[in-house]
Subunit: 192 residues, 2 copies
DNA sequence: AGCTTAATGCAAATATTTTGCGTTAAGAAT
DNA sequence: ATTCTTAACGCAAAATATTTGCATTAAGCT
């Protein structure tokens, strides 16, 4: 059994990682994906191109690494007081982000890299958020929603349209999807 | 107003297109996407690399061009005698194809190319098939299904899982999705 | 059959990627 | 705090990919 060598994560390695990621974000905002090259990123980050090739392998692996970092959540979804409104607020923001040009580009970067597990890791971020909303619901004594049902019938249609449709998912569209989980009959009653 | 120059589509142009597409398919079967290069494809097709760069622009545009050609349907879905079984048969085959390694690779090729309209064109192929099934239903005097509902709640979950999940959509899973369109109450009756 | 010109081949130039080897510094051990 | 091992990085050269100018081939119209 081979012993795993020690990977160095401090000092210079960390600085280079951060500089390269910042360079990718900056150049990504200024040009399209097929205009970005490793030598450009290296110059912007202040490293030599072979450093990038050695550490990441190729451009698509680097773009995916940065995309995963950007897609990884940094905070829990907003707490709106009830699980239904939590879900509606979360999904509306999620749809806005994922269907924006930046969101679409990040999803493409993740899917384009030939690295098994990346797309499912990103899907896991979404699943984690839904789990957080359900944990709150339970803490409030509310009935949690079916996470698989939300993924199949709310998240999947939104992502499918963000990637494959020329019409981006609107807030109305998202709320209509969620109406299948929370039918709006009570809303009609309170509207009278 | 500029006059569009005549594009030549016969003879040598057609042969080169066919040879290059065949070369991409052949090399795509033998290696992973990041191992394929334009010079390799050119050698396999018997053309010079600059021909490929001039005609397609870059490797990802070529891969997308070939992916679209492969995703474009060549026949109508099977006619099983009733719209529900037509849909079930179509979706089962669609899920099998799209979640296979080849299907996943083709979707990634289409999404990776920075060419607006390609992903939605491919989604259009699916929509066309659903329209065909509904035209048959109407011809039989049956009630057609809601195409948008099938796209959002059957197609989208399948494609989402094919791209983002480590578990591929199974026939059971697909049929459970379709059960939302055609609830299986009558099946329970005949099972007794 | 002749003509115009789009597409292609060829080769050179430019850019990117890969690789060997020396240098720097991360991090463990003392 | 110092020393030691060695992972990560820089540099430069080599290999490969991509781009471009120009000549040749042949598609398609008259």
């Amino acid at each position: 059994m081979t012993v795993k060598e020690r990977v160095r994560i401090g000092g210079r390695s960390a600085r280079i990682q951060s500089a390269v990621h910042d360079a990718v974000r900056k150049l990504g905002a200024l040009s399209t994906r097929n205009q970005i090259t490793v030598p450009q990123i290296a110059a912007e980050a202040g490293v030599t191109p072979s450093t990038i090739y050695r550490r990441w392998g190729d451009l698509s692996a680097l773009l995916a690494d940065v995309a995963v970092a950007r897609l990884r959540p940094i905070a829990d979804p907003d707490d709106t007081g009830a699980v239904e409104s939590d879900l509606r607020a979360f999904i509306e923001q999620y749809a806005e982000e994922m269907s924006s040009p930046v969101g679409q580009a990040l999803m493409r970067d993740v899917l384009s890299a030939l690295k098994e597990g990346l797309p499912s890791a990103c899907a896991g971020f979404t699943c984690d958020h839904l789990t957080t909303l359900n944990a709150r619901a339970k803490a409030r004594g509310e009935t949690p929603f079916d996470i698989d049902e939300v993924i199949d019938h709310v998240v999947a249609p939104i992502i499918y349209r963000a990637l494959f449709s020329e019409q981006i998912p609107t807030p109305d569209y998202c709320n209509r999807l969620i109406d299948r989980i929370y039918p709006p009959a009570r809303k009609r009653r309170t509207a009278v």
